[in-house]
Subunit: 145 residues, 4 copies
Amino acid sequence: MQPAAPAPRAFETRIRVIYGDTDQMGVVYYANYLRYFEAGRTEFFRSCGGTYLEMEKTGFGLPVIEAHCEYKVSAKFDDVVVVRTWVDEIRRASLLFRYAARREGDGTLLAIGHTWHACVAAGGKPARLPPAVVRLLTGESSPRS
Amino acid sequence: MQPAAPAPRAFETRIRVIYGDTDQMGVVYYANYLRYFEAGRTEFFRSCGGTYLEMEKTGFGLPVIEAHCEYKVSAKFDDVVVVRTWVDEIRRASLLFRYAARREGDGTLLAIGHTWHACVAAGGKPARLPPAVVRLLTGESSPRS
Amino acid sequence: MQPAAPAPRAFETRIRVIYGDTDQMGVVYYANYLRYFEAGRTEFFRSCGGTYLEMEKTGFGLPVIEAHCEYKVSAKFDDVVVVRTWVDEIRRASLLFRYAARREGDGTLLAIGHTWHACVAAGGKPARLPPAVVRLLTGESSPRS
Amino acid sequence: MQPAAPAPRAFETRIRVIYGDTDQMGVVYYANYLRYFEAGRTEFFRSCGGTYLEMEKTGFGLPVIEAHCEYKVSAKFDDVVVVRTWVDEIRRASLLFRYAARREGDGTLLAIGHTWHACVAAGGKPARLPPAVVRLLTGESSPRS
């Protein structure tokens, strides 16, 4: 019998909205959600027991090749935005992060989005995702036999 | 016989990449393309003979409800990014801008993307796109009979 | 005998450096320290028992009229920057915040700076600092007799 | 007899304010003036016949060691900010840029500021300003005899 699939990992990162994040409509400027998503995935890495920085030091990078965001309700100055981040798909040489941003307190859904990342080796060449990174992000601490 | 459909309007905006747009990979940070797209659509409005600011003064806004970007080749410091912008679809209460960003000089395609905008009236309520805005953006200077 | 003057209040805010804060030199872009300083003073307000947002709702604002930063050592991606913030001077209609940013862990001094703020009432007119704001920021919870 | 000192070079760069530059007060966020100053000095280099990029390729950099800005009148969305930039002082291993930002049209002074830059060689070590850079920025096309 197969063991049950582990529940997908997710991690929540809190970000306090500053003046510099808002625009003249009095809400968070749309591009800044991609900054929040970046904070979310960096903290996701850390929550898995590694860091993005360490992965880079092994010679690999995960540049964004596609970003997408749907805006539901506007976040405002001094709100705390909670970004829930998880890995939704892992392919040979790319992976998909998904994000859901909620307002702390009432839990209002502010935005959802995703980013696709290519794996590149030194020099920017496409590369297979290192098994150590896959294990880190999926929580499979030992290689399959 | 129907008159031929007019060619869709498009407008090209030039943006010089500054240090502040780049990140430690030595390329433009992914969120900044959404800033470039905003510059593109603001200049698109102006090229149509109006401004986004004037539209706002009539009490309407076009907040972004969805943003999407696909990254092809990285732009670098001191590059000039040329953002081609056009309206691809107009619905009753929303519209779709599309963007193609190229590097000036060699014309390399850097990124493509789109933004969906809802039309809102004062107070943020959804509203029908004002006919004057539709005419402005589509270049139809007189109402159809 | 006079009671000893209370030690000046200061508050420390932690900020994790993201990719979007860095530039192609691999360090935090110089303008972003002003963002960190803003985070520092917003959290300073909160540490005093109020919020900048609440003050604004009473009709007052504290726009920056002068900003200054001296850069000592570069912060890098994934560093935690600790911004120590305090009020250094309060005049009739303006006040001075000072900041010292250090790297968490080794305590390296990254940057020091200050911002002068004018007090303005509704409509942007210069105004005397509200006594409640002075008390909040200085920690004098009751008026002097 | 000494020849008259040449008038100091200055260069004016135009920047259109986008939504993403503003904050919820409806004005340009204070940190963004440092971005405008950077655009000003990069274009100043170009106006001298070289580029900052070319200087970097010779192995030198000019990191900011001090930035200062005084805010006079707020710039708003869709304003064109004209940044006048000039070199005010050149020392052995550092130099001073000054900036004056005005609103296009009525010429209103928005902000003034300066940035001090250290000269560094590869690896970030302090270095004497290369004579070629001094000549480029001062417009002295041949060395003094």
